[in-house]
């Protein structure tokens, strides 16, 4: 199994000289099993380039499965620009967390309302199917065994553990840590006082996450903030690398991948973050890798020592 990062940025795409190495497109990861089965996790702006590649490689229409963590714009706005959707005969199954599949269709379809996009989802040639996921209720897609995991983010979010080929990786984005703020379905202008029930809910969510991540090879985690940014915006629904590392150490994860970089983080800042947490990971016994657009990681330990099978799909991109 391998994963390729098509978008690693959070919130909104960031063009410009400051993001050429780590990349400016938003959340999208492609997972491939050894026999070639494909699952796409999140449909941020990175999905456009992925779609173009898939159409180049495919002979005729294909079926695609897309797992959504949640439906904030930075995780869905690549979908109308996913070129396989314009190939007749294509089937695209969207799996996401909402109260019902028809609501999911409305919400995802809503991003292509006439006011936002020239062609509504109903009119594109591909057939879209919508599937509701539930935290803890596993399902299979081809070679992949997939377990959704509840996360702490405004209006709800899910992570996914994907098992295939005798190994596993997990996508844990977007999520806040599990101490200061419990995200619900209303606007937060700042942290609200926690009730005992809130604290219990946070503790249960954290415990469940650690249990689901137990022994996973590679965890891709929302590390939007550096600690001083988190202190200013604890109610924004994102974590720091320190918080991610703490979870990964507890779950005895082999490798942590920093992901969902803040749009304000320049390549130079990302270099500093990458170096700092690579070292912190060495001390804690977890290999820490900072994701960049175009990076492919082999999942699973091949031999001894840290993994170095980092392939750059786009040689113009990536840390030095």
């Amino acid at each position: 199994m391998q994963i390729t990062f098509w978008g690693v940025r959070g919130s909104y795409p960031v063009p410009g000289a400051a993001t050429v190495r780590y990349g400016g497109q938003t959340s999208c990861v492609e997972a491939r099993s050894t026999r070639g089965d494909c699952v796409i996790v999140d449909a941020g702006t990175g999905m456009r380039a992925l779609g173009n590649k898939l159409v180049r490689e495919a002979r005729g229409p294909q079926n695609y499965d897309v797992l959504l963590s949640h439906v904030h714009w930075d995780h869905i706005q690549g979908l109308p620009f996913f070129s396989p959707a314009y190939v007749p005969g294509t089937r695209i199954a969207v799996h996401a967390l909402l109260t019902a599949a028809d609501e999911l269709q409305q919400v995802i379809g809503g991003i292509t309302r006439h006011e936002f996009f020239p062609m509504p989802l109903e009119a594109v040639p591909a057939q879209f199917d919508f599937h509701q996921v539930e935290p803890g209720v596993a399902f299979d897609l081809g070679a992949f065994h997939i377990t959704p995991i509840a996360l702490n983010h405004p209006f709800g979010s899910v992570g996914y553990r994907l098992d295939a080929d005798g190994t596993s990786w997990a996508y844990v984005s977007d999520t806040a840590p599990f101490d200061k703020v419990l995200h619900k379905q209303h606007f937060l202008s700042g942290p609200e006082p926690l009730t005992d029930a809130d604290r219990a809910a946070l503790a249960a969510m954290r415990e469940e996450l650690v249990a689901r991540l137990a022994g996973v090879d590679t965890v891709v985690y929302d590390t939007h903030f550096v600690p001083e940014e988190y202190e200013r915006f604890p109610h924004y629904g994102h974590s720091t690398p320190d918080q991610a590392l703490e979870i990964c150490v507890e779950a005895k994860v082999r490798r942590l991948v920093l992901y969902h970089h803040a749009p304000s983080h320049s390549d130079e800042q990302m270099d500093q973050i990458a170096a700092k947490y690579r070292a912190a990971g060495l001390d804690a016994g977890v290999e820490v890798v900072t994701s960049c657009e175009g990076m492919t990681l082999a999942i699973g330990r091949n031999g001894q020592g840290p993994t170095v099978e980092v392939e750059r799909t786009n040689p113009g991109i990536g840390p030095p």
């Binding site: 063009p15 400016g24 702006t45 006011e115 405004p154 606007f187 657009e293 991109i317």
Partner: protein, 278 residues
Amino acid sequence: MKIRFWGVRGSFAMPGREFLRYGGNTTSVELVTNAGERLLIDLGTGATELAKQLMGGAFGKGQGSLPILLSHTHLDHIQGLPFFTPFFIKGNSIRILGANPTQLSLEATLQNQLAPHYSPLNGLENLAAGVTIETFDPGAAIAFPGFTVRTVAVPHGSMWTTAFRITADGKTVAYLSDVEYPDVDNPLAEALALARGADLLIHDAMHADDDYELRRGWGHSPARAGVVVAERAGAKKLALFHHSPDATDDMIDQVVKATSERTKIPVFAAAEGSYLDV
């Protein structure tokens, strides 16, 4: 009057080395009068860069005021809205003006953009600044401090957009983005009237002339359409705008070269960068 392009890209923001010279941010254009009054057109991702600059001044202290005109509400023209930081500072006064895009009002459309599924902002009412959403019927004339603006509806695929003629300090800018004329070589009279004698015409040039045939009907112009408008309207300078996300810097250079050879009017491709005198 000065102009600064903060976003010149159409449809989709394009990070990456191949897009550095012209820029990968989606549409946002700032106009500033000699007296310092400011008007913004469209809220693509380019607006997030302007926001950083504004926050260093009055907007960071909650003392800024700004009118913003929206040509339409396709996502590439509004996707910077939730990240335009002056909205988050109490005391700022920001007017958003546009036509109602469909039967759905402008306000309802922007509320949809910020609906709780899509955005943690959870609605316009949670923006800390004073924000008003104002609508006009295309054809209306609007006055702002330092600026007068004329509006007209132009066809854009299955919908239409608002084009603007903006006059300040005795200079005129015509903004005709996201437009496709029924006959690309015979632009509509309304567009010509809007651009009449403009010092600068900013025109949709999403497509190179040779790839336009594949994209006909999607609502965008080939580069040559702007030339026809500029020549027939007597515009003094033409800025090619709303570049395709597939157009690398080198490809845009080629389009500028080919377009310049068609006309005596000075042609350039709009690029993210510094303030230009109109």
